[in-house]
Symmetry: C2
Subunit: 191 residues, 2 copies
């Protein structure tokens, strides 16, 4: 199953099977059921997660008690609170399985060890973060620029796989819309 | 002046003066006046900018013709449309000097050359992007979680230097507020 991580790394840099054999020792494989909690707000953010199958979402509870999703991760995505992970501090976000999920996780200290033993991986993680950061800036543009209805259909058109798999109320939360509003505009399109 | 970039790199990795001498050759030094345009929406995003002094903002024009700022950069910050830069595609953002600004810029191809000649710099850029991405996720949390008034005072409390230097209408734009609303809540605090 971890061959999947090797294939993902090899999209950006070259790692041999032998090197990867050693790299694997830094990771732990774990299965989660739908709705299982993987990390909780208020705890120290020690781990980085690579999704092999399934789907995660990262959220916080706002002051009205509503879950607000800020990020999804499906196959071949890394997920954590990257700032808290970098600073080894407590996180304000929780991470939960949206569906049955299998992932590899790595502890902060282990990731430092991995990178110092295999400095070639710095390029891999540089690209992962560069693209994720650029995408976050684009998301801000869409949230500012598009009408609520356009935000929803832009998301559905660009990420059809998500729209199929992820419950509507989570997509609504991620886009800053209410579930009722999403139902309404979906009905409008169908009619 | 580029000693400043060396000092910034040396916060995260070790680069000798001799190595940096060669690295400098990849960059161009440029001065801009307040309000000068540095990059324009609709053009190919070929450059990455490191601010030595001054301040930049990155913005787009929304469908009502309003400038919407998505990012600032002051001393020691990198700025570009990172996704378009990575994909070598056209950008939907413009970059402009908020005040008199001196920066170093590097072409995409040159940055690839720099990284392949000095792979140790991958770690430096990995950390730059990791922290920037983590911060973008935090910004989304604040935008969702806080009231408009809290968003403004959170920003002013956490980035007092910005609040002093950057015109209020740009801060308002960055926080998704109207300039009138920012004037109003500033007046309220003073009274």
């Amino acid at each position: 199953m971890s061959k999947q991580l090797l294939a993902h790394i090899n999209k950006y840099i070259k790692v041999s099977d032998d090197e990867f054999e050693t790299m694997q020792g830094f990771f732990t494989l774990q299965d989660y059921d739908k709705k299982d909690m993987i990390a909780r707000a208020g705890t120290r953010c020690n781990f980085n997660y690579f999704v092999l199958s399934g789907c995660l979402h990262m959220f916080f509870i706002d002051d009205k008690g509503t879950e607000r999703t800020v990020q999804f991760a499906i196959e071949n995505w890394w997920m954590t609170d990257h700032l808290a992970y970098f600073n080894r501090s407590k996180t304000g976000f929780s991470i939960q399985a949206v569906e049955r999920t299998q992932l590899l996780y790595i502890h902060h200290d282990e990731q430092e060890g991995l990178l110092s033993q295999f400095p070639g991986l710095e390029k891999y993680f540089r690209i992962i973060y560069q693209v994720a950061y650029g995408s976050a800036l684009m998301k801000m543009k869409y949230l500012y620029d598009l009408s609520k209805e356009e935000i929803y259909f832009h998301f559905v058109d660009h990420f059809p796989e998500f729209a199929q798999r992820v419950p509507q109320y989570l997509i609504a939360s991620y886009l800053g819309l209410t579930p009722e509003y999403v139902s309404e505009i979906r009905g409008r399109k169908r009619s």
